[in-house]
């Protein structure tokens, strides 16, 4: 187990708590009709984005999915701008033009949530190619789900990244379902990580609800990528509390499954571990909880009070020049 500094532990807890707070609040606001469209919530998978992004700086890149809020927060995107984006407000991360499924912040290396399942793989290869050709040590983390694992784009991308030795890590968030279809049905492999063999790259399957396990696997993979040794596939097995999107009736989960999810909660697991080992105190955790709640309260207030974009904004930002 790699040593983790106390500052890093505090950062990990703060990011996981911030994601949970953001998602629980987004669920309430959506149910109350405050957020238009639909939202795919990341609660239950916090350990994955945070365990990976703990190794990244603003100069590194990530590609994301339709379930992208957690990736944004882990990569440091401002929660006020995110919440305003969910509301479709002018002050949103994308001026209200993208919404939940397209939140991005290129300055933070966040290359966008994505409405197309499996589309991030090729984009991640491109970001990796930029780093390789420019000779920087930037790494790109490509988050994708178990559903996306069955898209041709992901197979093509892992092959391309491997033959070109691109500094990309492929992080499969296996939450067990592609919408309502279980991975035991849609996936021919027992472990998606086994597919790494076919792309001649290392592959690991880890407990995606254990941030320490994710952190350790990601650390090795990212170090390998920074050394120019090419990509790694990490499969993180986790679950989604809210199902595919907020409003999902969850009829396909059994009661046992729901109980098991609660028992695997990544935040509770973290708390238990750091308290058992005297790594952090209850007071330190409580302070972070209060800060996260306040940050999300402020984000909601900011979003509610922000203006909508003016109608002329329809026409801007299509091209740099036209």
């Amino acid at each position: 187990m790699a040593e983790i500094t106390k500052d890093k532990l505090l950062w990990i807890y703060e990011r996981m708590r911030l994601i949970r707070e953001f998602e629980d609040r987004a669920a309430e606001l959506f149910a109350a009709g405050q957020i238009p469209g639909f939202v795919h919530l990341y609660a239950g998978e916090e350990a994955i984005a945070v365990g990976v992004c703990a190794w990244l700086t603003d100069r590194d890149f990530i590609t994301s999915t339709h379930r992208g809020h957690g990736h944004c927060i882990a990569k440091g995107v401002d929660v006020k701008a995110m919440m305003a984006e969910l509301y479709g407000k002018k002050t949103g991360a994308c001026k209200g033009k993208g919404g939940s499924m397209h939140i991005a912040d290129v300055d933070k290396g966040m290359l966008g949530a994505n409405g197309i399942v499996g589309a991030g793989g090729p984009l991640a290869c491109g970001a990796g190619l930029t780093a390789k050709i420019k000779g920087t040590d930037q790494v790109t983390a490509c988050f994708f789900g178990d559903g996306a694992a069955e898209q041709g784009t992901m197979h093509e991308s892992m092959n391309l990244a491997s033959i070109w030795k691109l500094p990309v890590i492929f992080v499969c968030e296996n939450n067990g379902y592609a919408q309502t279809t279980p991975s035991r049905y849609h996936c021919a492999a027992e472990d998606i990580a086994d597919r790494a063999t076919a792309y001649n790259m290392p592959g690991f399957s880890v407990d995606g609800t254990d941030v320490f396990a994710v952190y350790e696997a990601a650390g090795e993979a990212i170090a390998r990528a920074r050394r120019g040794e090419g990509p790694t596939l990490i499969e993180c097995k986790a679950f989604r509390y809210y199902g595919h999107f907020q409003g999902d009736n969850l009829s396909y989960y059994t009661e046992e499954e729901k109980a098991e999810q609660k028992a695997r909660d990544p935040i509770n697991k973290f708390i238990q571990r750091v308290l058992d080992r005297n790594l952090l105190t209850k007071a330190e955790l409580a302070e972070i909880d209060a800060r996260a709640k306040k940050a999300i309260d402020e984000a909601v207030k900011f979003a509610e009070q922000s203006p909508y974009p003016v109608l002329d904004e329809i026409l801007t930002d299509v091209y740099v020049s036209y």
């Binding site: 949103g92 197309i116 984009l123 491109g126 093509e156 991308s157 092959n159 930002d317 020049s321 036209y322």
Partner: protein
């Protein structure tokens, strides 16, 4: 520097070469753009093909295999990688071997490349060029001969360029590579071997500007890509009959130079549009709609579209020859509108 006669193929090659010399962030990738990666040829710094039709020949020798990259046959991955690289600081030129192959990678072109800037509220730019071969007349049959630029023209966020001569092929590609938006650059298969005068130095033919290829007073013939050559042939024949044809080459379909087309129509009062694409939802019918909406009062006759039929491209030589709109069909349409 001098102007000399070179082919359309050489003009494209020269534009890429000069831009790669000028800007180290310009890279080229696609299937066999050099060819022979990892073989004894690579060890010797040589290439196998330099592109399926030799358009990119010799570039790997000058720029090396880091910037001239052979790809696997994974269009989604490498076209998408070009988009991802463009959004993170390179200026990639990706080659989609034939436009007919867009079916396997369109998501990366229109959902990612074409929408990224808008979805991100203007906080990204995607300076990628996708070069692609198109067009009938090569006996390449239905899956290697289509035109399809209308599909891309329909999509906001993309620019569409259709060079017709060696001169505009070089200048438009130079402009496309320097442009900060995604550009789809259409290379006509049959035009590759055509020749014309091209200056040695680098120059830009601006995107969004039509060219009046032949001034005339009786009828406006808007002709896209290879159709410009046929329109010019038809115009020479019609001149003998006393019909003075103005040939307008849009050069870029998105953005479209509406004003040059409309000014010409207002001058000649007659319009024929020649387009090798299939007719439904075509650029031809879009331009006729433009004239109907903005210059109807000037029109002395119903405009005519001369297009391919609503069919795939046939293989059999006489069928393919009949599929392509040629000078005779153009002349017939012109006579119908001037009658």
């Amino acid at each position: 520097m001098a102007t000399r006669t070179i082919t359309y193929r050489e003009a494209i090659n020269e534009a890429i070469r000069l831009e790669m010399r000028r800007d180290p962030t310009v890279i080229l990738m696609g299937e066999d753009v050099a060819g022979g990666a990892s073989t004894h040829l690579e060890e010797k710094g040589e290439e196998a093909w330099g592109g399926d039709l030799g358009v990119t020949r010799g570039l790997v020798q000058e720029f090396g295999r880091s910037r001239v990259r052979d790809t696997p046959i994974s269009e989604s991955a490498f076209i998408g990688a070009a988009v991802g690289a463009a959004s993170t600081g390179l200026r990639p030129i990706a080659e989609l071997m034939f436009v007919d192959f867009f079916g396997v990678c369109m998501d990366q072109i229109f959902n990612q490349g074409g929408k990224m800037r808008y979805m991100f509220g203007g906080k990204a730019k995607v300076p990628v060029v996708i070069r692609t071969l198109y067009g009938a007349g090569f006996r390449a049959a239905a899956q290697h001969s289509a035109v399809l630029y209308s599909v891309f023209t329909h999509m906001p966020g993309l620019k569409v360029v259709t060079p017709s001569t060696p001169y505009n092929a070089k200048g438009l590609l130079t402009a496309a590579i320097r442009d900060d938006d995604p550009v789809i650059y259409f290379e006509h298969l049959v035009l590759l071997d055509t020749s014309g005068p091209v200056p040695e130095e680098s120059y830009v033919v601006p995107l969004g500007k039509a060219e009046i290829a032949r001034p005339g007073k009786d009828v406006t013939v808007v002709a896209i890509g290879r159709m410009r050559l046929f329109a010019m042939q038809a115009a020479e024949e019609l001149a003998k009959e006393g019909i003075d044809v103005e040939v307008v080459d849009p050069q870029t379909l998105s953005p479209l130079d509406e004003s040059t087309i409309l000014e010409s129509v207002k001058k000649t009062h007659r319009l024929v549009v020649v387009d090798e694409d299939n007719p439904r939802c075509s650029v031809a019918n879009d331009i006729i709609s433009l004239a109907a909406q903005q210059a109807l009062a000037y029109l002395d006759a119903a405009p005519q579209a001369v297009t391919a039929p609503h069919t795939p491209v046939p293989f059999s030589p006489p069928l393919e020859d009949g599929y392509i709109p040629g000078p005779a069909k153009i002349a017939t349409a012109v006579k119908a509108v001037v009658a």
